[in-house]
Symmetry: C2
Subunit: 359 residues, 2 copies
Amino acid sequence: MPGVEDGIPYKAEDLERFAYELFIRCGVTENDAKLTANSLIVANLRGVDTHGVTRVLVPYVRRLQAGVTSPHTNIRTVRETMSTALIDGGNSIGQVVAAQAMKIAIEKARQTGCAWVGAQHSNHFGTAAYYAMMALEHDYIGVVMTNGIASVAPSGGLAPMLSTNPLAFAVPAGNQPPVVVDMATTVVARGRIMLYAKQGLPIPEGWALDERGRPTTDAHAALRGTLLPMGGYKGYGLSLIVDILAGVMTGSLFGTHFHGPLAEDFTNPMDVGHVFAVLNPGCFVPLDEFKRRMDQALRELRDCPPAEGSHGVLIPGDIERTETERRARAGIPLPAPLIQEFEDLAVELGVPFPEPLSH
Amino acid sequence: MPGVEDGIPYKAEDLERFAYELFIRCGVTENDAKLTANSLIVANLRGVDTHGVTRVLVPYVRRLQAGVTSPHTNIRTVRETMSTALIDGGNSIGQVVAAQAMKIAIEKARQTGCAWVGAQHSNHFGTAAYYAMMALEHDYIGVVMTNGIASVAPSGGLAPMLSTNPLAFAVPAGNQPPVVVDMATTVVARGRIMLYAKQGLPIPEGWALDERGRPTTDAHAALRGTLLPMGGYKGYGLSLIVDILAGVMTGSLFGTHFHGPLAEDFTNPMDVGHVFAVLNPGCFVPLDEFKRRMDQALRELRDCPPAEGSHGVLIPGDIERTETERRARAGIPLPAPLIQEFEDLAVELGVPFPEPLSH
């Protein structure tokens, strides 16, 4: 990713503490501040800077300050069956809503084998993988989807009608590390293009269309235009399913009805919807057998002969796990302009900003 | 699709009756023969000739004759919780196993709000959409996945390790027709390339690699090589999730462990796995509200201004529904070599083969 890799490294714990302190200053409770800061730092550690402190910490703080995200947790259960629930996030922090929804889904799956929990009136929740991975501690499979502000045109259309609508899966294994798939249903996430735009770099062809629906490599033109769904009409289909399950079904906003982007609109609640599914694989084959079978499947994939010019086959989640180990030692790199922004925010809110790792 | 569109049209009911009679001659019970024939004809009506009588009827009959697919239904429940079940298909016809699994999932979703049902020791089941759409009659959402013989290399790998691993979703609406997404997690289905190979036509670039991992437009080389997953590593991730849920989790074969292809191997059971999820959207928002919201979301998508050179936005399922109406009138086109094959089979099994529609 351009720019960010060349930044000055900070210790993950220091940045997590910094984010935590900022949230506390915004009136967020200790537990919620801890969770939210952790979700952002886990994203940065995994190399997903689009969903880490690198891109969303400042807008999160500004929205809390402006009162358009509630610092207090106002979650209530709207409707409930043995294996489903709908919770109203009450405009609480997205991370807090999502974690609570996932906990409910895990508890219900423990009772009945599986569960779906929807969340309405929520906010940006960081990476979907964070919540899908909560299922792993229980040896369950987690599935997470969220909608958001439209940036993708449906196949054949000119206007943005759908969000990047990501979906994530986490599946436990035995000796092998878990499988963690977390993907926008676009070729790339919008935040990725923002990072290119910030650096004035061109984007690869095939990522986006300009506002007249023409292919473009201009990151700014792409941000004014539409993102391309992955795999053409198939990605459009998947994206629509995510918007239906996370938005239409949960009573949240959907389609074109969202207000301004996270980092630009400080007057309207986001009102995004999420949906969380949990499945206990031990209900199908005994858990130890499932884990043995997972290990075998993953080992066999790793043993696949590499294609010409490739270093071999990776399992989804490998890159992020390797990067987590690397960044836990080498630090999370922050670009200079962001450090300045953080230092200003630190002064404004009376919070100490840490020294970089290399000092 | 090459060739098939230029065939001689037959009345859907006539071909359905023909398939039914063939199955009866193979010792299949009336109900199961009816279901299986119907699933193939519905595929043809929807324009999905890769999963209709056009490609799979002859292999189905040959496998039943060879005794590698059981004409008798031997389904038993292996394990069950309130919201999950695993059934053993006992090598029964895939359609019969899948329909039974979906019925169980629908019944469990009625009790608890949602359900996942896995099936092991099953066979080729036709189109995934057929079972997902079973949920629509109950105003439920249906999700279906299946695995099968490996034809796709994982990203970075040379050898086929994953099937086209399709997944399907069906979502009810109010006045708008339902959303039906049914997609292989490859750029195209293997059966599509087979139809090109049969006609000696080249395939478009980007569909497949040859056996040395190089891009190819030769349909025969593609069939010896590997299919490309949709959207690169994202499609690989999705495909792996399908193989895990449908295969690893259900105790079925997975990855590279399948025997020969449907139309070539008449000595081994297929032993494929499927998984079926059903979700009652009325557990989240009241059903009439869900339908109103679906109608609004779909209407808004249809009203999206068309991109340059496009006729506008379609909803997943539109093309297949229009084609169903057209083919119900105009008939299902069969290519001449297939008619000959059907006529030979008709003589062999003492079943009348219908006259074409145009006579």
